[in-house]
């Protein structure tokens, strides 16, 4: 987003009408919808004593679920960043038949509701599915294993990795590369010294976005994962389970922990954005 941040007003003493009402609606809405529930969560968690909080957030089951969530999200974000770069590169630089169709395909995970994606992937990689049938015969099991979770996470978070890279690749000056080529640079040198540094901030942003999305994903994963504690139980699922068992203190503690993580990611994304803006 291109937004002018400077606090000083451009035209002093002149303001378009509607300042009061738009400000009122915006902050009222955000307060009721976003800030009130967040404050409620932290309030609820603050009722818990520190020992209890610690016990709930770092219980063995919770720790295992974080480990599963974080490691699998990292892995899927990594796969997405690499494949996302390749897909973006091919779509921007090469002439591929049906490139418009492939371009539209990228956004498909945004359009497919997560529950639908979960059911569909579970069937697809199950013993009767088109892909699972063949994998089963080689002895690879996908459904109800961490591998299945990774596949679901790759599906839901893929567009973030591609959509951040494509504009940067499109904006890149071909002349710089041609110049380097004329000056005798090898292809791998051009890639390492020109292309990679240019797209690196976008890759990092895409990686973070897709990691954040994967970390919070629930709908598609619960179908394919099988939800066995200590094996394929992800952190958001643990929150939902604790809530269903009316263990409100444990639930609030874990939710606060996850919220803090997503706030940290948000701050990191903002720093990243201002950093890449400053560089330009």
């Amino acid at each position: 987003m291109k937004i002018s941040w400077s606090g000083k007003s451009k035209t002093r003493g002149f303001r378009l009408p509607g300042f009061g009402i738009s400000m009122g609606i915006t902050w009222l809405y955000i307060s009721i919808i976003l800030l009130l529930p967040s404050a409620g969560l932290f309030l609820k968690a603050s009722e818990v004593s520190f020992d209890e909080f610690w016990k709930a957030v770092f219980s063995l089951r919770a720790l295992k679920s974080y480990q599963i969530s974080f490691s699998l999200s990292l892995l899927s974000a990594l796969v997405n960043t690499i494949m996302g770069f390749i897909v973006a590169w091919v779509l921007v630089r090469y002439r591929v038949p049906f490139s418009g169709l492939f371009d539209a395909l990228i956004d498909l995970p945004f359009a497919l509701p997560t529950a639908v994606a979960g059911v569909s992937l579970t069937w697809l990689y199950g013993p009767n599915g088109w892909i699972g049938r063949h994998l089963e015969s080689i002895g690879i099991k996908v459904v109800h294993t961490p591998l299945g979770i990774i596949i679901a996470l790759i599906f839901v978070s893929f567009p973030f990795a591609v959509r951040t890279v494509i504009p940067v690749l499109k904006e890149m000056d071909l002349e710089v590369e041609e110049c380097a080529r004329c000056l005798g640079a090898r292809r791998w040198q051009i890639f390492l010294k020109i292309i990679f540094p240019t797209v690196f901030p976008a890759l990092l942003t895409g990686f973070t976005l897709s990691f954040a999305r994967a970390l919070g994903e629930y709908g598609s994963v619960i179908f394919i994962s099988g939800n066995q504690p200590f094996k394929t139980e992800i952190a958001p699922l643990l929150v939902a389970i604790k809530l269903e068992e009316y263990e409100y203190t444990a639930c609030a503690s874990i939710a606060v922990f996850l919220m803090t993580v997503s706030l940290l990611i948000l701050i990191f994304l903002n720093i990243l954005e201002s950093f890449s803006k400053g560089e330009r």
Binding site: T26, L34, V90, S120, W123, V239
Partner: protein, 289 residues
């Protein structure tokens, strides 16, 4: 001899580059098809596995109808609220300079990075009987969690930034010179908005609405936490799909999934159409100038 060797060498190099390109393209396209496209294909091919009559029967079931009406009911309340907020927020962020703008825009991103389950949990901890605001809700004689209002609030939480985020870049790019000129010429605020701003942002607004509808209809995580799964009362379409799946009625689940997929696909097609039509209108404007 040396020239021939060089020639064959460069030919070899050219061939290698072409092969590299071909392999890379193949890799990218097959990744897209296998990981992204097949799930969609699976939905449609499975839905009609037991024939069209079974498909229609599934759609005509009482549970399906009630889930569909519930989902539409949520949409009818959520969408206008989000449109009002989206326009107000985009106007506020792009037309004025104020402190805390950065904070506000960052807040708009929070629902994207936060897990929907955590969002739903926050609402349960706030509004349920032993929640922080439970006594207020009880004294008003209302029921929010495990009831319709809870579903609406959960959906609002997840979808509120969509329209604002779509409008802010559009309005930022347009600038406010036209509005300021209108103001100088004596137009009222309402006049400025409906005659100048709205025609300029209509496609952005429309696409924001499309995105919001798609997400609203398909939301699962947040809604599933606050719904309590009461049959015929708090089961939305995605939750009904989960129930059918758990009852081993896989084909039935896929039948309902086609409805949601239809909405999603429509949003994709509309996006492509808007993108291309915007290009056309821009070019026309440029030449007509």
């Amino acid at each position: 001899m040396r020239i021939v060797a060089q020639l064959s060498n460069s030919r070899k190099k050219k061939f290698l580059i072409l092969a590299f390109r071909f392999i890379l393209s193949l890799l990218a396209c097959s990744f897209l098809v296998i990981f992204i496209f097949t799930p969609l294909l699976a939905v449609f091919s499975n839905a009609f596995q037991k024939g069209v009559s079974f498909y229609l029967e599934m759609l005509k079931r009482e549970e399906t109808i009630s889930a569909l009406t519930l989902t539409l009911g949520i949409l009818i309340i959520v969408l206008p609220l989000n449109v009002i907020f989206g326009v107000a927020c985009a106007w506020y962020v792009t037309k004025y300079q104020f402190r805390g703008k950065r904070f506000l825009v960052a807040l708009l991103d929070l629902p994207f990075t936060l897990s929907p389950v955590v969002a739903g949990t926050m609402l349960v901890l706030l509004y349920s009987v032993n929640g922080v605001l439970g006594w207020v809700v009880e004294s008003l004689g209302m029921k929010i969690i495990f009831a319709f209002p809870g579903l609406v609030i959960a959906t609002l939480f997840v979808t509120f930034p969509f329209i604002a985020r779509e409008l802010i870049p559009v309005m930022e790019e347009q600038g406010s010179e036209m509005e300021e000129a209108g103001r100088m010429l004596g137009a009222s605020g309402r006049h400025i908005f409906f005659r100048i701003t709205l025609p300029n942002i209509k496609w952005g607004l429309f696409y924001g609405v499309v995105l919001c509808v798609a997400r609203c209809v398909g939301e699962f995580g947040a809604v599933s936490v606050v719904s309590g799964h009461i049959r015929g009362k708090t089961i939305t379409l995605p939750l009904e799909i989960e129930i059918l799946y758990n009852e081993y009625n896989l084909v039935g689940a896929f039948c309902l999934a086609t409805v949601l997929c239809g909405t999603g696909l429509l949003s994709l097609i509309l996006r492509k159409w808007i993108e291309s039509s915007e290009k056309v209108s821009k070019r026309r404007y440029f030449f007509g100038d």
